[in-house]
Amino acid sequence: MTTGMRELVERHPFMAGVSEESLELVVGCARNVAFAPGSLLCAEGESADTFYLLRRGRVSVNVHAPGRGSIVIETVGPGDVVGWSWLVPPFRWTFDARAMDRVGCIAIDGACLRTKSLTDPSLGFELLSKVSVTLLARLQATRMRLLDLYGDQRVE
């Protein structure tokens, strides 16, 4: 691990408040990666062994529908996280994630983190707490969008 990687991980909003000990363990599973515009960070159905802390660029979360092509469900940007399928069985991506422009991110090996969490439950608890915050925010946003707030409302 390098000081540079430690700083990158520590500065990412997802890691705010994580203990020093856990931070060190996460850094040990992290690497810096870049994606060209249009390339896939992960593909639906494939093994989910990584999650990404976005530093630069935007990523679209897509699903392919027959006859409709690739449908963008959501876009995320710097400070966001892509992927939580690494955390729960069967560890398989449920959506595609595609770089919308040049993307820089920290790729974290999910299998590495799972193994470390088994031996250090406090790491597991911290990570799960962090992921839960993200999950809850996404769930709430999805529920709001399901309401179709801007939809037709006959009022007169």
Binding site: P13, I73, E74, V76, G77, M100, A141, D148, Y150, E156
Partner: protein, 298 residues
């Protein structure tokens, strides 16, 4: 109206009313008609005779389509613009009739009514630490904010605070005032747009409007906010802004109820102790209003 002495009587300053225009429609002619989206039409109006008194950003007029009826429509022009601008969403009989008006047609106008975004009071804020303004609009909610953004951008160009315009829409075809977005950006404002449902050709952001807050680039502790859109959207956006560190006192929301008389007589637009045609539509989010917006029955 409640007699509870703990409730504030009027949330805002009194906005001026045109005594002549309060109860009798003044005739205005449609000078230009802009089809913004499939269901939103903008009418640019000029008076046949003496114009109604000047207005403030955020106020509304009662527009009549003669023989059909009258509805409240917010002013989407800035007072510095020469023509009255009203953007109407076709959601019922009267709004449909207004959307069908063509150049040369006459409409009735009563107003201006209600409270405003206080953008003309920026000099009053000179001693405060509020620097930036965050404008969050959902759907047609950008209409009551358009004039305010124009004024804010103009002030920003003269060295005033930064302006952040965050827009949410159902789908790309429902985004209104896209030409204004470009103009505001060209003059230094930050404009971010997101849609709930992407289309194959959409290359922008997809997600809830609150997803724009985190990376917009404003300093929440030194910013104020103006919100307009569906009430649920405003509630969640206001909470998100407070969570980011914004002072709730600096958050204004525009509320919509069944405005009919425009002068606080008929009571159709009552929200708790407020008559929103008179005390609103623009009200501070902090305190009583944030409480009222979560009440199931009033």
């Amino acid at each position: 109206m409640s007699s509870d002495r703990t409730l504030p009587t009027r949330p805002f300053r009194d906005a001026p009313h045109d005594k002549r225009g309060a109860l009798t429609p003044t005739l205005y002619r449609v000078i230009e008609r802009i089809r913004e989206t499939s269901d939103v039409t903008t009418l640019l109006l000029e008076p046949l005779d003496e114009p109604l008194m000047t207005y403030r950003c955020g106020q509304f007029n009662m527009l009549s389509s003669f023989g059909v009826g009258e509805i409240a429509i917010s002013l989407s022009s800035a007072p510095s613009e020469p023509l009255l601008r009203h953007s109407v969403r076709d959601v019922g009989a009267v709004s449909h009739a207004l959307c069908q008006r063509t150049v040369g047609d006459l409409v009735g106008v009563r107003g201006p009514f209600g409270s405003d975004w206080l953008v003309e009071c920026d000099n009053d804020n000179a001693e405060t630490d509020v620097r930036d303004t965050v404008v969050v609009a959902g759907g047609i909610g950008l209409a009551p904010l358009r004039g305010a953004v124009e004024e804010l951008v103009r002030t920003s160009e003269r060295g005033g605070g930064r302006v952040f315009v965050l827009v949410g829409a159902r789908e790309p075809a429902q985004i209104v005032f896209t030409a204004d977005h470009d103009s505001w950006e060209a003059r230094g404002a930050t404009v971010l747009v997101t849609v709930d449902r992407a289309t194959p050709t959409w290359t922008g952001r997809v997600g809830l409007v609150t997803s724009l807050l985190a990376d917009a680039g404003f300093d929440p502790e030194h910013s104020r906010a103006m919100l307009c859109g569906p009430e649920i959207m405003m509630r969640f956006t206001a909470r998100a802004l407070v969570d980011l560190g914004m002072n709730p006192e600096g958050i204004l929301v525009s509320l919509e109820r069944n405005m009919q008389c425009g002068v606080g007589w008929c009571g159709h637009c009552q929200l708790g102790p407020f008559l929103l045609c008179r005390d609103g539509p623009v009200v501070p989010y902090a305190g009583l209003v944030s409480h009222l917006l979560t009440q199931r029955e009033l």
